[in-house]
Symmetry: C2
Subunit: 112 residues, 2 copies
DNA sequence: TTCGATACCTATTTCACCTAGGTATGATGC
DNA sequence: GCATCATACCTAGGTGAAATAGGTATCGAA
């Protein structure tokens, strides 16, 4: 009908992951903890959400990986590519637009 | 794992519908148009989203209905109950919390 | 009389996310 | 010596809100 198809609501895990990785490279397990801490326990995406997401972002060329073993444990570090940076910009913009729109509707006492 | 389960993102159609109905009673088709116009075409929930939602909100006691025929066409007007008002308050609060959390993560240059 | 707008409806599909497992290593405690 | 927890990776399968895609019927305009 009008503007819809790809639900504008989705992509928040993706948005947060890209945002965190924009500052510095991180590994999956670290990202899971970071989101939880950064959101003050409010948001807790499980590994089952983050790992598949990282894989698909890598497939899309938004992230590159680097493997490193630390203390006998293998870590996969992710880094944002220019493609990923562009994706982040788009998602952040969409998020802001959505919020502005909804905030407007929630606030307005008018509307004929 | 942590705070998650019922995807915090959902419920936006419900939030908007309840918000619109808080001001005045409206009928389904009218709500579909109102959301589109109020969002300046940015959000366009189809009838297939709104009607089932209205029905489930009525089942939950959040809305009451009144049927009226206008110009040979039957309209079903919906009105918010106290239960629905409470639900609206909860959803609005959740939405604000979520936005605050995400905005914080998007903004912060810090985070150890 | 064909078409679009109005006004209602629901069956089906999709897909993002959630759940719930699995493997393996290192450190801690008993 | 052995259980247990945190670390660190992984994926198969289920769920459910929303998206898609239909359907019925009336009215007005071209």
């Amino acid at each position: 009908m009008a503007t819809s198809q790809s639900s504008f609501l989705n992509g928040v895990p993706e948005l947060l992951v890209l945002r965190l990785l924009r500052d510095r490279e991180m590994y999956g397990y670290e990202i899971v903890q970071a989101i939880r801490e950064a959101s003050d326990e409010a948001i807790g995406f499980a590994e089952g959400v983050i790992y598949p997401l990282l894989h698909s972002l890598e497939r899309d060329g938004a992230l590159t990986t680097r493997r490193q073993t630390v203390n006998g444990r293998s870590r996969v570090y992710y880094r944002v590519t220019p493609v990923g940076a562009g994706r982040l910009a788009v998602l952040a913009e969409q998020w802001h637009d959505l919020h502005r729109t909804i905030a407007g509707i929630l606030a307005e006492p008018r509307h004929a």
